[in-house]
Symmetry: D3
Subunit: 66 residues, 6 copies
Amino acid sequence: MPYVNIRITDEQVTAEQKAQLIQGATQLLVEVLGKNPATTFVIIDEVNTDNWGIAGNTVTNLRKQD
Amino acid sequence: MPYVNIRITDEQVTAEQKAQLIQGATQLLVEVLGKNPATTFVIIDEVNTDNWGIAGNTVTNLRKQD
Amino acid sequence: MPYVNIRITDEQVTAEQKAQLIQGATQLLVEVLGKNPATTFVIIDEVNTDNWGIAGNTVTNLRKQD
Amino acid sequence: MPYVNIRITDEQVTAEQKAQLIQGATQLLVEVLGKNPATTFVIIDEVNTDNWGIAGNTVTNLRKQD
Amino acid sequence: MPYVNIRITDEQVTAEQKAQLIQGATQLLVEVLGKNPATTFVIIDEVNTDNWGIAGNTVTNLRKQD
Amino acid sequence: MPYVNIRITDEQVTAEQKAQLIQGATQLLVEVLGKNPATTFVIIDEVNTDNWGIAGNTVTNLRKQD
């Protein structure tokens, strides 16, 4: 019955990549804890780079400095 | 002072249905625990079906198989 | 496939009350949105009153002022 | 290593205000707990006023009554 | 900069299993999206079976029916 | 009406420090966005170091390497 929430920045993640994250996270719970995949939820939240901060800066600003 | 977070797939939920979820969840906390509605928050997150997985599949794919 | 997270203060909530919250929240999603209860999750988080703040105060302090 | 999630209504918050929230929340963790800003995350979620309820009403409705 | 939150029932999960979940979830984000592991957080929440509901029942009750 | 969730490792945080986090986070929302403190929630989650991972390792293991 696990619930997995993956939060990432909203930077052109494809539907195929999302499907891989969902499959991989579900598989991980099956392998490590023997959980039932039928009742394993994975939710991906894509967050605008203006809304994600690290080290006191927005990711938008950090990307400009790269 | 409860906080309720309802996460559902983003599939044409109307403003009226959202209002019903908010009213119903608030009422539930009042009835079961005697909470004060004035400080009861309900937040609804609508999640794209590409971003929600169950049983290792995206809901987008599961809907196609119906 | 809804996911409902109910966060409340940790103040002697009984197992029976938790069961009522779970049943009521599930029923709400069935009635308002026609969701399938078999894949409806409800998770209750009980939070210490030292760790919950409102109006800039901890609930522990607010309870003392009552 | 703190993780801070700020949820607010989606009402014309500017990029500058978001940057201030991120900077301020990070600074708070540094000052109070001596945390390392380099591994402090702040994520801001903006929520539609139809999707946020208080006192059993949507914020959309509450704004109309003002 | 991903943030992964894994919520599972509190049923004798070992420190070794938690370490495997953390390693596996981090590896997944590296492989699928090329994320930097140094800024990938994984947080595991263990939830009492009284506090987790599925199909309108607590997991505590569902376990008794097995 | 903001909701702020601060997640930190469970390493002897005092009630006084928690009160400071709650006061500071509330003040931040008042100053930056003009929010009403009376309806500003702050919830602090303390997470066991076995349950928090960064860079693919548990914080428990990272602390040993210091």
